[in-house]
Amino acid sequence: MADPMRVRATESGGVVDVKILMKHDMETGQRKDSSGKTIPSWHIAHVAIKAKDKEVFRGQFGTAISKDPFLNVKFKGAVKGDEVVVSWVDSKGESRTDKAIVS
């Protein structure tokens, strides 16, 4: 499993606000290292957020998303105490899943 994400979920007025910090180099494949060699592209490809086993968010990340991405998602339907599960898969097939309880 890759480096952990920081997931925080708070509920207010029926809306759950999820803030996620992902640790990922997000290489575009355009950069060159100090020896002049191109650094191959490597980035998060898919992100999914589930609450109460129901998918509430699905995203496709590409090379336009910068390093260590921060994602902020709001949705309705969960309450304090529910579990929010965030997971991503990257272009190399590595993945990471982290959870948070809505507070």
Binding site: R6, L21, S66, D68, F70, N72
Partner: protein, 264 residues
Amino acid sequence: MIKKILVGVIFSFSHSFVFAQSNAEEIAKYRQMIADGNPSELYEAAGEELWKKPAGPKNATLEQCNLGLGPGVVQGAFAQLPRYFSDTKRVQDVESRLMTCMETLQGIASQDVIKESFGKGLRKDIEALTAYVVTASKGAKVQVLAAHPQEKKMFDLGKKIFNYQGGPMDFSCASCHAEDGKRIRMQDLPNLTLAKGAVEGWGSWPAYRVSSGEFWTMQRRLNDCFRQQRLPEPIYGSEGTIALSMYMAKTAHGGVIQTPGLKR
């Protein structure tokens, strides 16, 4: 949100007489926007893991590391650094003290950290551990009085280096950091000779630099300042760098620590 920032930037370019003021405001708004997602937290999480994970030839954790408040006490430790340590008989900042703990508790040689590059290997581990330690002092007040004779000596040395002009452009730290209201390109330069400016500088590093996607500790910030002045590269954790930190920390005494920070 992005539209607001763009409009703000265009406005500030077309009205040069309010250029400096609205620039600072826009940067402040930008900082507020991203304050919730400070990637320094990722380094802090990695640092906490390293603190508790057995490592090195002695296969020990850092949980007995004494940062000045007792073995294993991390809460508030950064607020009283740099300080004199009786076991090493010298004044140390957070990074050199972490190197000492890694050596004595885990058997990892400090030289291996010193010869490494910033952001790589053991150096990166120290950076993550620094993020962990400073987060535990966030919101605390700087408690550096430099009362011990060695601490006072380091403060005086730091002040001397701060004002020492050298290199091909005759720069000293004071060239950029001894007056109010100065900036370099888009970045405000704190006046480190006064308490207010000193805590802005000392209390906001280490920080995550969004422009390069890297977590910079004070050692790295000092190293880069030396580079910008075209002075010789300081040795990692050397007496000169600790002296400069001591000068800043004591001048910042009583101010509130904001680390880990977030920079453009």
